[in-house]
């Protein structure tokens, strides 16, 4: 009973955010939501299935570009679904390598995909617009446009694209968390965890290891694709530079400091990694330690970068189960 009440309070509060918070917070929140969705996917791949991947940014880009390209041609909702499927197909196509190459070789091989992707996005100007990028068509659902054009006002607050996207983001995040939670404790989820802990044990329990590795890549890429679509919508315009190595690394950091294999941890890691620099920047004026931008000394941007590095080191040294481990103090497992 109290759980339902608590959930209801959280839902109401989250739904009220656009009424109270300024555009900056909505924008930051949307980026965090996009990161949460994609990070859950990577957590399934790295944490549950034990397949190290540095290619996540590539699959995020497939989702983002896929949506931007398709939404001009088919209804945006279909474009969203198609973009997610497209990312899934890209993940499945990578599975011959994923099936053959193991461990750190897989991680670094997948790194190659990010560089190849960047090259393709820069050069396939017909679809991606090259370095100029492409405008992302606004989302619409059964004729309801996610733009400010309809002049919708709620409680005195004009509802523009950010306010509307906020709700789309909430729904997508909720669905992603729900699916992720279900998956972890389901037949395929158990199969993936067994593949991670012992491929031999998995195989002798009737699990087709190669197929499940490919499936893990596919599902994870579909998550990445969905995250990519939301990211594209939050941006309004996407350029190749957004989907580079740094983004891939960020995703891996989210998963590791969140606590590999924990869906909730990945979400927490995503919020931390995405929002930390934005929020530090936001408050840079009120933090006495930081130098004014442009005045030399340690500025907010450098400070947040240093904090990011220090957080990675600290979490790995002192909280090995990541942020998720801090919440659930579990018995230490061998």
């Amino acid at each position: 009973m109290s759980r339902w009440l608590g959930a209801a309070v959280v839902v109401v509060l989250l739904a009220a955010v656009p009424i109270w918070f300024e555009a900056f917070w909505l924008q930051t929140g949307l980026f965090a939501m996009a990161a949460i969705i994609a990070a859950i996917g990577l957590s399934i791949l790295v944490g549950i299935a034990g397949q190290l991947s540095l290619a996540h940014a590539f699959f995020v880009a497939i989702g983002a570009y896929g949506y931007a390209y398709l939404a001009d041609r088919i209804p945006p909702l279909l474009a969203l679904v198609a973009a997610v499927l497209l990312a899934g197909v890209a993940g499945a196509l990578f599975s011959p390598i994923a099936g053959r190459v193991r461990g750190i070789y897989l991680g670094l091989a997948s790194l190659g995909l990010v560089f190849l992707g960047q090259h393709i996005f820069q050069n396939a100007t017909g679809i991606t617009g090259g370095y100029r990028g492409v405008a992302v068509p606004p989302f619409s659902l059964f004729g309801f446009e996610f733009t400010g054009a309809d002049g919708l006002v709620v409680l005195g607050v004009p509802y523009g694209p950010l306010e509307k996207l906020w709700y789309l983001g909430l729904v997508l995040v909720a669905l992603s968390l729900w699916y992720g939670h279900n998956l972890v404790r389901s037949r395929p989820g158990r199969a993936l965890a067994t593949v991670r802990d012992s491929e031999v044990a998995a195989a002798t329990n009737g699990i087709d290891v190669v197929r499940y590795k490919a499936a893990a890549f596919t599902v994870s890429s579909m998550y990445a694709g969905l995250g990519g679509v939301l990211m594209a919508l939050a941006f309004g315009r996407i350029v190749p530079e957004s989907f580079g190595l740094l983004l891939s690394i960020d995703f891996l950091v989210m998963v590791v400091i969140g606590g590999a294999g924990s869906v909730g941890g990945a979400a927490a890691g995503a919020v931390f990694v995405t929002a930390l620099p934005l929020i530090l920047n936001h408050y840079s004026g009120s933090l006495p330690l930081l130098a004014e931008p442009g005045s030399g000394g340690v500025g907010a941007a450098e400070f947040s970068r240093l904090l990011y590095g220090a957080a990675i080191v600290a979490v790995l040294l002192f909280a090995r189960d990541g942020l998720a481990g801090l919440v659930h103090r579990k018995e230490r497992v061998v």
Binding site: S2, R3, L5, G6, V9, V10, L13, A16, I19, W20, F21, E22, A23, F24, W25, L26, Q27, T28, F31, Q122, G130, Y131, R132, G133, A135, G148, V157, G160, L162, M231, A234, F235, G236, R237, I238, V239, E241, S242, P277, L278, N281, H282, E292, P293, G294, S295, G296, G299, A300, A301, E302, R305
Partner: protein, 416 residues
């Protein structure tokens, strides 16, 4: 449940702390001559300008010197009384050259500023443009690509990379004996800057029957061995350069070492005085030229002299650069002119400033930017003249202007 309760309290607290502030325009208050209509970013005693440089990403060095230039200008302006009685406040947000951060940074600034004094990078401007248009803000773009045209909101100090490249080809043909049928190499960055310059050089090449040998690189490429070798094999008569200083040093040094003794003409961002401390300094002094609408610091114009003296007073240890601090300085001059004009029009709203900007048809920057600037047509860059300068170890900033700013005849027929 206790956790949820706590969360609710925290949230409620945050909510009350930062309720969504309205951003309505205030009607003209007061009476008589003082009645100036204001909007977001302008009050009775301050005008707030937003700056979105890159302070932590790949162009952080540029970003820092740009902020030096901007601060220099506005500090002096404020000391002299500000603009129509109002002090200018500068709000800076770092973009890290990351469109995602830039969008968030913009959202953070947008409620409080009247316009954007400087934004670095065309991918960032592209990402911001939908919002900027909706907010009717003016935006001073650091980066000279014509991709951004036509946009009502964007102001560029001077001309664009493609026009620079056309002028560069013209210069090579007139002064360095490049003739129809020759091949010119063009080494350019992937992305807006390089590819915009390439558009110009291709236009000029077609017009004059020249061949262009393209070599595209990325900022991560630091060693031009392969590129120089390709140029040498093709027997290029000259090289156009649209990349960054580290690549310039590598290119010039390698060309000299491979006995590829041809002129290299670079766009503005291809130069920094630091290059004179590299081993390639001699090679650059012999063959390196820069085409830019920003004045080389050796030009003795009123604006540049003023800039230099102010700069040395404020940053005795700093090194002024023409596409960093001087550019932001010139950008501030433009913003100043638009704001002043808007104030004269009694309309310090964002729209008012934008209209004021477009009414400037012959803005004289005192020579920091070549020629006078005309902002009336959003479809073409405000300036069309360029300085051509030669590397010289003795000149301030390492560049010595070759003659007065000029414009190649070809540029007239060029469509953006």
């Amino acid at each position: 449940m206790r956790r949820v309760g706590l969360l609710a309290v925290v949230l409620a607290f945050t909510v009350t702390a930062c309720g969504k502030g309205g951003a309505e325009e205030e009607p003209a208050k007061g009476s008589g001559e003082q009645a100036v209509k204001t909007g977001p970013g302008a009050s009775a005693d301050t005008i707030t300008l937003g700056y979105l440089p890159d302070l932590s990403g790949v162009f952080a060095p540029n970003g820092k010197s740009q902020m030096e230039g901007a601060n220099l200008y506005w500090d002096a302006k404020n000391k002299a009384g500000g603009i129509c009685g109002r002090q200018i406040e500068v709000k800076v947000q770092d973009t890290g050259y990351d469109p995602q951060k830039a969008v968030a940074a913009y959202q953070q600034l947008s409620g409080d500023v009247i316009g954007l004094g400087l934004v670095l990078g065309s991918s960032i401007v592209n990402a911001l443009l939908p919002n900027v248009q909706q907010d009717q803000m003016f935006l001073n773009f650091a980066g000279w690509t014509s991709d951004i045209l036509p946009s009502e909101n964007v102001a560029i100090a001077g001309t664009t990379y493609d026009i620079e490249a056309i002028n560069a080809v013209d210069f090579l043909m007139k002064e360095h004996g490049v003739a129809s049928g020759d091949t010119i190499g063009h080494l350019y960055f992937e992305g807006d800057y390089g590819e915009n310059a390439l558009k110009g050089s291709k236009f000029a090449a077609e017009k004059h029957g020249l061949e262009i040998l393209e070599q595209k690189i990325t900022p991560a490429d630091q060693d031009m061995t392969g590129q120089v070798s390709a140029f040498k094999k093709a027997g290029v008569k000259a090289i156009l350069f649209s990349a960054a200083p580290p690549q310039a040093a590598s290119l010039a040094g390698l060309a000299a070492s491979q006995k590829l003794d041809v002129p290299i003409v670079a766009n503005g961002p291809g130069w920094t005085p630091q290059l004179l401390t590299t081993p390639a300094a001699d090679a650059m002094e012999a063959n390196y030229f820069v085409v830019s609408s920003m004045a080389p610091l050796s030009v003795q114009s009123e604006g540049v002299t003023k800039f230099l003296s102010e700069y040395q007073a404020k940053y005795p240890k700093g090194t002024p650069s023409s596409n960093g601090s001087l550019y932001a300085y010139a950008g501030a001059q433009i913003a100043d002119a638009a704001l002043t004009k808007a104030c004269e029009n009694k309309d310090l709203t964002r729209k008012g400033v934008l209209d004021a900007l477009h009414s400037l048809t012959a803005l004289d920057t005192g020579g920091t930017v070549a020629g006078t600037l005309d902002f009336s047509d959003p479809a073409s860059p405000p300036g069309s003249l360029v300085y051509i300068a030669k590397v010289s170890k003795d000149a301030p900033g390492g560049l010595e202007a070759l003659g007065e700013p000029a414009q190649a005849a070809d540029a007239e027929g060029y469509s953006f």
